[in-house]
Symmetry: C2
Subunit: 316 residues, 2 copies
């Protein structure tokens, strides 16, 4: 644990494996790490396939390293509940920053059965935070739900776009307008980059917001040429200052912690329901639902009432 | 409700909207529908983008209609937590079978905040089942997690492939091997269809399975030419007979009901946690986690202990 707190890659990797495997040791690990958390800035990076997320992540790491920051990266692939895919990605990704002890990159397959991003990512963030990384970058492919989830977990969410992506981008726009703190148009040297920026600005301007709300900047970059990243980092800093001043940073982090606590409580409850005794009861209820002799709501009530002291708590 | 049970499209649509909106009336609706459920066969259809899911769904509907079956279709788009996208899809899809009162097609955006497929789809299936549809087809784009989820909800899961899809298919293979009851190779008239079938057969043969386990058939079709669909329907029937004989049908349906009951119980619990009183307590715990004065496991324990009569229930 001490080795992980010094950021030693193998020790960090081991703790993140505990997260992925939902190890029984996780509870103890998290208890020990708690006092050392709360320092890292959590940056989310999302975008449709093909916009250049990996290249941008690498370019952003390089820029942050130039500023002396230690950077931890979680590349979450919500399209892969199967852990096999993560390894190849790791090997490809590690290349650019291989040998730099102040960069740690980890691909994570989001796990289906515990609700994906909402379960494992915040805990992996917590490990990297306690390991002393100044910035934790969470990269996720933009497939709708994961975009929304990442926005709930990051201090600052970057949405990456690129020209020439066609309908995909158009379709995505309705969604991404709700989640970005900062928009990054990659492949700025290509035709259409300015058009993407103009379209996006137009759409952002249409959205209603309060006068004192954050006005999302749009930054053009060429990740492959390492151009424009300094401005991205500046805007991230500016957003962070905004969050801190308005108290929104505290609110976001508390919300993230609340989701995490809820997810763990729910997982724990499911574990109890799967336990001897309760499991048989649940199976009986489920068989009744399958047979049509009862409905799922009545069965859920029965399950809760049998395992909650006060079934009426908090209800109107 | 009676109108929905007769399969009147507007009445059915209204009840499914209740599901999508998580209406307070849902509980009452499900209680009333329960005795009328358990008759429909639930068929899952999944595959990567581009393999021809919509065309295959339409061809399969036509084949099932030829056999006199009433068909309900749920097209679930897990990449869209935003409801806007569903409408256009509806309009395009309805075209082929427009005016046929025995076909009902509905696009559903999977909802982010309640866990997507696992929440709304089983309830929409329940509505269509009670409305007297003989077959409920659940079509979902194959993006990993949703594939796995659909396999948990259908009696029979069809995995759709096509030649010429390149790396996407290769990458997907590890996952789809675990979920298909029946593999369908679309675009059989194209080069490479036989190769896809051979590769897939080879991989399926490598997987360990018991001697009495179901051996997944691979059927070649051309959905656009309406060729091969009769064989698909035959294989679905054969799989259904296998499930019924082995008792697996009952097990699958009970498991589906169990997941549904659990999901509703968890949602109900979250609702209570969001209620006055508990919410303040949860916020206090979350603020402690965000500040590093406590860890999420200890906070989750506190939350459960305060709202469960017997915190030790079901634990070892």
């Amino acid at each position: 644990m001490a080795a992980a707190r010094e950021g030693q890659p193998r020790a960090v990797a081991r703790l993140i494996s505990f997260v992925e495997d939902d190890s029984p040791l996780l509870r103890e690990v998290m208890q020990a790490l708690a006092p050392h958390t709360g320092h890292a800035r959590v940056i989310g990076l999302t975008g449709a396939p093909g916009v250049g997320k990996s290249t941008t992540t690498n370019a952003l790491i390089a820029e942050l390293r130039r500023a002396g920051k230690r950077v931890g990266v979680l590349a979450v692939d919500p399209s892969s509940p199967f852990s096999g895919g993560a390894l190849l990605g790791d090997r490809i990704r590690m290349h650019d920053h291989a040998g730099d002890p102040d960069v740690y990159i980890r691909s994570m397959a989001s796990r289906g059965h515990l609700g994906g991003l909402s379960w494992s990512t915040p805990q992996a963030i917590r490990v990297l935070d306690a390991a002393g990384f100044d910035v934790v970058l969470v990269e996720t492919v933009g497939v709708g739900q994961s975009e929304v989830e990442i926005a709930g977990q990051a201090d600052t969410t970057l949405v990456l776009l690129a020209p020439g992506m066609g309908d995909g981008i158009q379709a995505a726009k309705a969604g991404i307008l709700e989640i970005g703190d900062l928009y990054v148009v990659n492949k700025a040297d290509r035709d259409g980059a300015d058009q993407v920026r103009r379209d996006l600005r137009g759409m952002l301007n249409l959205a209603e917001r309060r006068d004192d709300a954050w006005r999302q900047p749009i930054v053009k970059i060429s990740a492959a040429r390492q151009e424009g990243l300094a401005e991205v980092v500046e805007e991230i800093d500016r957003h962070h200052a905004f969050l801190a001043e308005t108290g929104e940073l505290h609110r976001r982090r508390t919300r993230r912690a609340r989701l995490e606590v809820e997810a763990i409580a729910v997982a724990e409850l499911r574990r109890r329901w799967a336990g001897v005794g309760v499991r048989g009861e649940l199976d009986t209820l489920a068989a009744g639902v399958a047979a049509g002799t009862t409905d799922p709501y009545t069965a859920a009530d029965a399950l809760l009432e049998a395992h909650l002291g006060d079934p009426g708590t908090g209800q109107a």
